[in-house]
Amino acid sequence: MIALPITFFLLLGAYLFQPHIAPVYPDKDGRISTIMSDQERQEISLCLANMLWNQLSQYSPFYDFDVVMKNLDDFAKEKKRPLKQDCQQQLLSFLDKISTYQAQLNLKDAEAYLAEVATRKNVVEVVPQKLYYEMLQSGDGSIIFPESPFKIHLIESYLYEGEETVIQDTRLSNEPITLLLSDTVLGFAKGASGMTVGERRRIYIHPDLAYGKYGRHGFQQLMICDVERL
């Protein structure tokens, strides 16, 4: 008989002393509602979720989503306090592994793509397994020499998660660029060498002959240059 009241009091105690469950910043006195509607707060929350997700995805697949959510929940309920400094150094030490993993994936994609390019008809092999080009349009004029500046239209793309992604297209801006071959990445210099005025080539460049492990738009990425000499 005595078990019932004890259970009752235990449950009551647990209810009364449970951790703070309400939102961390509730609109207690209604001040926030004078300047912002509930819908606007929802929109802010959605934006933050988007931003957080974009950030999380940079570390994918190297984190456990459930653990992230559990910790956020603990912070919100004040069960835990966020760490101030320790995470920076800790995460830095893991970053190299993440980066190396991504680089390996990119390199694998690049090499598979180049292997496929090598089997295409009308492809010229400049450096085996590393550099190829397709002639899109023949030209009729003077040949490029490394020390002379020349004008081109360029569509520069990279292989991002197996898909070609355009980084810049000078035709869209209608602003051709003037280059010196000796001042370009090695793959481009070799691939565009000998182009004549009016000629158009699509050059496929292995990361080793482009930006390598340190890349401007990524790392260990295949670079594709659609170039027309003007």
Binding site: L95, S99, L154, V185, K213, Y214, R216
Partner: protein, 332 residues
Amino acid sequence: MKNNRQTWNLYRRVALSITLTVFFFPLATFADENIYAKHAENTLNSMPTEDRQDLECLFLYLMADGDFAYTLFGDKPMALSDFYIDLESGFFLTRSTLNSVAIVYKGWLVWQKYKSSFPSISFILADYMTPDYKLTGFVLYHKQKVQALYDKHQPLMKMVFGDVDHIAKFLCTPTLDHLKLGCDKHMYHQALGLLLGYDERNAKKFRDKFELIDALMKGPFALEGLNAKMTKTILLSLQEKKPLYYKQTDFKESKSSDIIQQLNGLCEHLKVINLSLRDATLSPFKIPKYMVFEGDQEVLKTQNAYDKIRDKLNEIYFSDNFLEIILSRLQS
């Protein structure tokens, strides 16, 4: 006769010392250099592949990102490379920037292991990491060129850095906490501009840039018809820096309107200039930029000097012996 013998003995002794100095000192120095070079070669050969790759990536990154290579292979006396590696600024980070952070941090860690194996004769390559691990940097300078600048620009250099040997340590304290007065900061920026290779006129512009940034940070409306409150804020912030700074630079006590005019002038004339006349679209390394007067003769001279070595830098960047070239140049 006795005098003659004494003179002859003295002559022999002096001649012998000179001969020894002339013949053996270079040999001893050369032997030292050889020992260093041999030691460096051994270190490089015995380095684990992963460490080697990390160092290679670090130096490729330093070369691609700034003016490091222009100091190592060109005429630039000094190069500063600072990197924010703050992962808490997460919303701005992409995979590409995370990769850069990884390269810089890992490279810095590995360099700590090996830097003592690559002592430099002509250069100083110093590095730092802030205690919170959010900012790291490398300072590279050519000792002789910096010494010459230090001697040429006295007493400014002495006032800012004290001894010439303090320069590296000074530049590796990015918070500038060691500066006792606010006005020191302006002399510091002027001295830094000179060490970075710009003449007195452009070094002043370099300093002005920081002054402008300071003023704008405190009163961002300064350049667009200021209201009275903002004007006062900016003027007060500028006047706080006046005593020592004014003494050293003939900066006159100015009225509000003069200072606003000066700030407007700075903003109008200071433009970010590419230190190359080339297009870097497909180049492996960026073109360093600088805030100076457009069309300035010194800038044109620098642009030409930079352009002269870009082809050489490109060759080095893609060389199979990239790391050997960088490290042996550092040791030269």
